[in-house]
Symmetry: C2
Subunit: 344 residues, 2 copies
DNA sequence: GTTAGCACTCAATCAAGGAGAGTGCTAACA
DNA sequence: TGTTAGCACTCTCCTTGATTGAGTGCTAAC
C-alpha cells in the first residue's frame, strides 16, 4: 500500500491534533478538522489503512488513534525537509558577553526551558580538539603546586599537584617557560611522546613534574569532558500526563540529576551528525533508556572550530517539533555570533 | 492536662508505628504493639486526650491517628535529648583525599542520599571568613589577564580580566609580588581601604589593575557563595506516597533544580545554630515553602575555622529521624577528620 | 469510490452495597 | 476510681453493575 496524498493529509491532521490535545483522535474530528470534505466513515477506512501500515495505533479497541513512533518519524522528516522559517523572537534574551562559560551555559539552558516548557540540557563544548592557550604552575604551599590550564575559548581548569621536594621560584619559572614554549598552541592530540621526552630531558631532575603536569592536563580535560552537563526545567515533565506517572517521572528525574546518564545522548549526537546539526529521536530511538517514552531533539552548537557541544530538549512524543526546531536553529546562530564577538 | 508517662509511651508508640508504615494507626495496634498491657479501649481514651492536646490527629472520623507537627516535634526533641548512640557504619565509604572541593561535595551528597533514601543537599563551605592563600596574575593574550585566587582549603577561583594596554612580564611579576605580599593570609574582611590605597600607590600607573583584581577577588567569592549547592537523590521523594503526587513532586523537584531556592535553608541553618549543629524542621517550620509537607534535617559542618557549610536531608515527616541524625553526626566527624588530615 | 447507518466494543463515570477498620460511649467489673 | 467489654455508629475503600458516550468495523445503498 502507498501513502498517497490523501493519506498523508489525514495522517498529518491526526498528528497535529494529537500534538495539541494529547488525546486519541477519532474519525469524526478529522472529518471536520480538515478541509478534505470527507465523511467520518471514509476517514475511518483510511485510518484503518494507516494503522495497518504502522503509522498510527489504537490504545484500545474503541478509542481514537494516536501516532506511532513511525508516524511521528514521518511527520518530523516531512517537516525538516520544508524550507527554513524566518527567525526573530528571543533574539535579545541571551545576555551580555560572559567570561565564564559555566554561567553562560546555565543561562542558555534555563532560558530554553522557560521558552519551550520542556526539560532541557546542554553539554559544555568538548575541548579535546582544542588548543592549549596557556599553562601556569604556581606554588601554593610547601608541598603543593597549582597548575592552571587555559584552553582556547577561555576555558580554565585547575589542578593541585602534590610534590615531594619544595621547588624554588626559579625552578618554577623555568618549568613554566618550558611548558609554555613547548605546548602552547597545540591541541591535546598533538602532544606526542617525543615531545614529552624532550621536555623531560630539558627539565632535568624535575622531569617528574613535567610528566605529572602533562598527565594532569590530559586527565583534567578528560575528566570533566563527559560530566559538564547542565539541565533545567526538569519539572516541566509534569505538564504532560503521559510522562508524569511516578515510575516514568522518577526515572527521568534521576537521569537528569545523575548527569552522566546524559553523556550517551551527547556522544550519539556528535556521532550521527547531519548538515543542520539538528536531530530528532523519537521514543525508542533515543540512546537513553529512561527516555523511551519521550522525544528528544538535539542540536550541535559550535563555539569556534572544534569546540562542539550539544543542546537537548526532552519532552513528550507529542512535542511541538516545529517550534522546538526553530528555537534550536535560532540558538545555534546566536551562539555562533556570540563566539565571533568574543573573538574580536 | 499533663503528658504523664503512659501518655508519652503511647504517643511514642503511635509515632514509631506511623514512621514505619505511613498508615494511620489504631488503638488495637497500640494495645498489642506496646508492653503496657492495656486494652484498646483504654488506649482509645488516652488517644482522645492526646488528640485534644494536639499531639496527634485523625485524617477522618473513623481512621486511626497520625502524629501532628507538634507530635513529631515532641518526638524529635525527646530523641535529641537522649545521649548519643555509637557510630560506626559508613566509615570507609567516603573517599580518598580529594583535591577538588567540588568532587568531594558531590560524592558526600550522593553517598548520603544512597544511605538514607531521602533527598539530600550540601552547600559549599562559605569562604568569607577565610584567608587568602595565594593570588596569581598571568597574561592569557594581549588584552586579557587571568587572575587565579586560591583560598585556604584549596578553593580555587578563576577570573579573566580585560586590560587596555598590554602588560610586560616584569610588570606582571611586580604586580604579583605586590598583591601577594600585601594580601596573603588575610581574610576578605581584613582587606581595608587603607591597604588598597597603599597598594595602588605602589602600583603606580597600573593602579587600575590593582583595584580590578581586588574587585574580582571580592566579587568572585561573593558570587558563588550563595549558589554552590549540590543535591542528590531527588527522586527518592517518589518513595513516599505522601510526597509523590504531582503538585508536590513538581514543586520539590523545581526547588532542587533551582538551587538558589535552597539558600534560604542554608542561611536559616547557619543562623539558629545550636551546640550540636543539627537542626530539625518539621512541616511548616521549614524556611522553604515547597517543603511544607516535608521534614528537613540539617547539619552544619566545619572545615577548619570559619569554613562552614550546611548539609540537608529532606524527606517525609515520617522520616527515620533517629537514623538520619546519627548519619549526620557521623558525617560531621568524618569531615572534621578529613580536614585535619588535609592540613598535615 | 463515497457515504449512511447500525451493531458492537470499550473506557469512564456514577451510584449502591458491603466489608473492614476504627471510634465513642455506656455499663459492668475489680 | 481506673480499666475493660461490648455495641452502635461512622467513614473509607473496594467491588459490582448499570449507564453513557466516543469511536469503530462492516454492510448496503448511492
Amino acid at each position: 500500500m502507498q501513502l498517497d496524498e490523501r493519506k498523508t493529509k489525514i495522517l498529518q491532521a491526526i498528528i497535529r491534533n494529537y500534538l495539541e490535545t494529547g488525546e486519541p483522535v477519532g474519525s469524526r474530528t478529522i472529518s471536520k478538522y480538515t478541509d478534505l470534505n470527507l465523511s467520518s466513515a471514509t476517514i475511518r477506512n483510511e485510518m484503518a489503512d494507516l494503522e495497518e501500515m504502522g503509522y498510527i495505533l489504537q490504545p484500545h479497541t474503541s478509542a481514537g488513534r494516536i501516532p506511532s513512533d513511525m508516524g511521528y518519524r514521518f511527520y518530523v522528516d516531512a517537516m525538516m525537509a520544508e524550507k527554513e522559517r524566518e527567525v526573530d523572537e528571543m533574539k535579545e534574551m541571551l545576555v551580555e558577553r560572559q567570561d565564564k562559560m559555566e554561567t553562560l551555559l546555565k543561562q542558555v539552558v534555563k532560558v530554553l526551558a522557560q521558552n519551550t516548557q520542556y526539560a532541557t540540557m546542554i553539554s559544555a563544548p568538548s575541548t579535546h580538539r582544542n588548543k592549549l592557550k596557556f599553562i601556569q604552575l604556581s606554588r601554593v604551599d610547601a608541598s603543593h603546586i597549582l597548575a592552571v590550564i587555559v584552553i582556547e575559548g577561555n576555558v580554565i581548569k585547575n589542578n593541585i599537584l602534590e610534590v615531594n621536594e619544595e621547588l624554588s621560584d626559579e625552578t618554577l619559572l623555568k618549568l613554566n617557560i618550558l611548558l609554555n614554549t613547548n605546548l602552547n598552541g597545540l591541541s591535546i592530540e598533538e602532544i606526542n611522546l617525543g615531545m614529552i621526552a624532550t621536555m623531560k630531558q630539558q627539565a632535568g631532575i624535575h622531569s617528574d613534574i613535567v610528566s605529572e603536569v602533562i598527565d594532569a592536563v590530559a586527565q583534567s580535560i578528560k575528566a570533566d569532558e563527559d560530566l559538564e552537563i547542565y539541565t533545567s526545567g526538569t519539572n516541566n515533565i509534569f505538564r504532560y500526563p503521559e510522562l508524569a506517572d511516578q515510575q516514568r517521572a522518577s526515572e527521568l528525574i534521576n537521569t537528569f540529576e545523575e548527569k552522566q546518564q546524559l553523556t550517551g545522548l551527547v556522544q550519539e549526537t556528535l556521532l550521527d551528525e547531519n548538515s543542520t546539526g539538528i536531530q530528532v529521536y523519537i521514543g525508542n530511538e533515543t540512546p537513553v533508556q529512561s527516555m523511551k517514552d519521550c522525544s528528544v531533539v538535539t542540536a550541535t552548537y559550535e563555539l569556534g572550530e572544534g569546540m562542539k557541544g550539544t543542546i537537548g530538549i526532552i519532552g513528550p512524543k507529542r512535542m511541538d517539533y516545529d517550534k522546538v526546531i526553530r528555537t534550536l536553529r535560532n540558538l545555534q546562530n546566536q551562539l555562533d555570533e556570540l563566539y565571533k564577538e568574543e573573538d574580536k
